[in-house]
Symmetry: none
Subunit: 405 residues, 2 copies
Amino acid sequence: MELETISTGDELVRGRSPDTNAPWIARRAAEEGVARTRHTTVGDDLEALAAAFAEAGARADLVVVTGGLGPTEDDLTREAAARAAGVGLVFRPDLLEEIEARLAARGLPRIPGNRVQARLPEGAEPLPNPLGTAPGMRMAIGRAEFFFLSGVPGEMERMFDESVRPVLRERGGGAAARETIAAFGWPEARVDEALADLWPRRDVRLGLTAESGVIRIHLEAEGPGGRERVARRAEEVRRRLGKIALEAPDLPRSVALLLARRGAVLATAESCTGGLVGKLLTDVPGISAHYAGGVVAYADAVKRDLLGVRASTLSAHGAVSEPVAREMAEGVRARLGATLGVSVTGVAGPGGGSEEKPVGLVHFAVAAPDGTSATRRRFPGDRRVVRRLAANVALALVRRWLRNA
Amino acid sequence: MELETISTGDELVRGRSPDTNAPWIARRAAEEGVARTRHTTVGDDLEALAAAFAEAGARADLVVVTGGLGPTEDDLTREAAARAAGVGLVFRPDLLEEIEARLAARGLPRIPGNRVQARLPEGAEPLPNPLGTAPGMRMAIGRAEFFFLSGVPGEMERMFDESVRPVLRERGGGAAARETIAAFGWPEARVDEALADLWPRRDVRLGLTAESGVIRIHLEAEGPGGRERVARRAEEVRRRLGKIALEAPDLPRSVALLLARRGAVLATAESCTGGLVGKLLTDVPGISAHYAGGVVAYADAVKRDLLGVRASTLSAHGAVSEPVAREMAEGVRARLGATLGVSVTGVAGPGGGSEEKPVGLVHFAVAAPDGTSATRRRFPGDRRVVRRLAANVALALVRRWLRNA
């Protein structure tokens, strides 16, 4: 079963608006055991639309198109679909009546474009759009069955669930068994190598994604016994990854889980990350029992006054140094009465680097009941990349202490 | 000049990871006056990749492909490009040496896959990847020139700017005149209405996007006098939006600019946003002279001990209240010796709401030399939405004080 999606609209093809529809459809289809094979974005151009429809119709079994059904001049989906199918457009008075009734019910004015919305390609069947005014449509183009949905996310999602999902459920291979394992601490290539002999085995398909040092291994299997195969393979993957396999889908949730397990409370002292570590931790609902808060010590005076870093340490070693990282972590732990304090101080760039302390150099410390440990790292990349990696390393150091203690 | 993009990877075609590369490229190309005509996403499937490359090569002038250049088994871009061009792969010992030197410089191990990364389709030219280990490539397929870039956003952006952008600049129709105005404070519909008669005027095209309350109006015009037309229309748009039109492309940069203009220093006291306001401010390079830092006061004890919020205020009004917001802002201003203190305390959800203090209720205060003002808002949406909107409102309140003072 080959599923494709097509998103239409100048704002999408020019990159002005993010396309949330197409990934949503892919995820929804995966839940029904159908893997999307291709996605296409085209602008509001009649020929380009008709060509994209005809090409997908020659390749796929099922195609979901979003957008271009509105009443304005750049809504060309109906006309392009008719052209791709080689049929004419038929005016449907019943649809116009329905559209006008919906507009009236919402106190919206009729416009001439509504007449255009009531024209469907010959042989097309209107699809209900419970949250909007204009119906979608369902028709064959080439060998594929096409579903044309609204481009407005709320309307699209409702139309998809009512009209497309039952078809996927019926024709899809049945939901695939799926599991994702997140890991942090090795480069992607080392993870790949550790799983080298598992990639070619087709009983469970493996995929790998990486973002800011967090590597995710996706396992998937269809058919009878799929769930058991995925569970066994996931256990094998976890065994090979050892300590770097996270307890939860991401670092903040792993830290939250381990804090809860140990009944520990964390506090953060951030310089170059400026609050990002706190933000990531508080993305996790319900963390308030185990995250006290922290200090964003961007200025040296704040490191001194709120964290108790000694002026002599700052002047002797500079703000980006191991001794300052240690005193920050110890200070935030003591002043917030937390079990653990973690600190980050570094040069995020683009300015502020020197030969001795280049952009990307970051010092970390974890202050704990059994003492304080410090780490330094040098990250490649720009300010954004350095800050994200630094925040993740800070979380990973907390996780390590919680696992080992 | 027809530009297409192709994103590769199972994680993208299945909808597991968001594709930020393709919209970024479209926006960057638009800055050079080149409008993308089509985008395609395909998975890690050799035949599907080769077909997508060949089709785009038959249609477009220039194609930018991202992803699939890594050292793992599902990195198939090189092989698919060779197949689409009808050529073989050639092993380049010089590239392997370069890759291994880069790995060594970062202390990473060599793996067998690195040898695969040193194979290029016949006739392809390697493209430098300054932030990564594997080179990209440039080659002809069909009538189009292809640029193959890393799928890692940081690496891709650098490669694009160094290798692709100059080509677009040379061949693009001459950059269209363009300006974007960011605004914050009105609902989208009100902005739309304020500009109603400007939409149909074709001498300057208008577009509107919205994200977490920040509305952006995009103006664009081609041809002779385009720059002047855009400048005049932008002035008109700014006039109609009045105080809600920002000084910079986003709220953090507007605040940074106004702080610098007034020589003021800001401090933040965050509860429900957990560091997000600080994170947003420190996304701006060079803000350290005007942002001292702040306190993430997630626990009530931190509000008391580090910010000086009185225990009696907390017990009488609760943490999510105007009096606590006021004392937080005043406390952080005094303790960090800042010109301005801003505070956020609210119920981000999903838990913690009550009839009196529902999820989405957030109190803010700005403590300034002329006194403290407080604001409350009730946001719709989930935890993530509430936190983002709350952070933006906090920044907007600081901006308002800086503009009016």
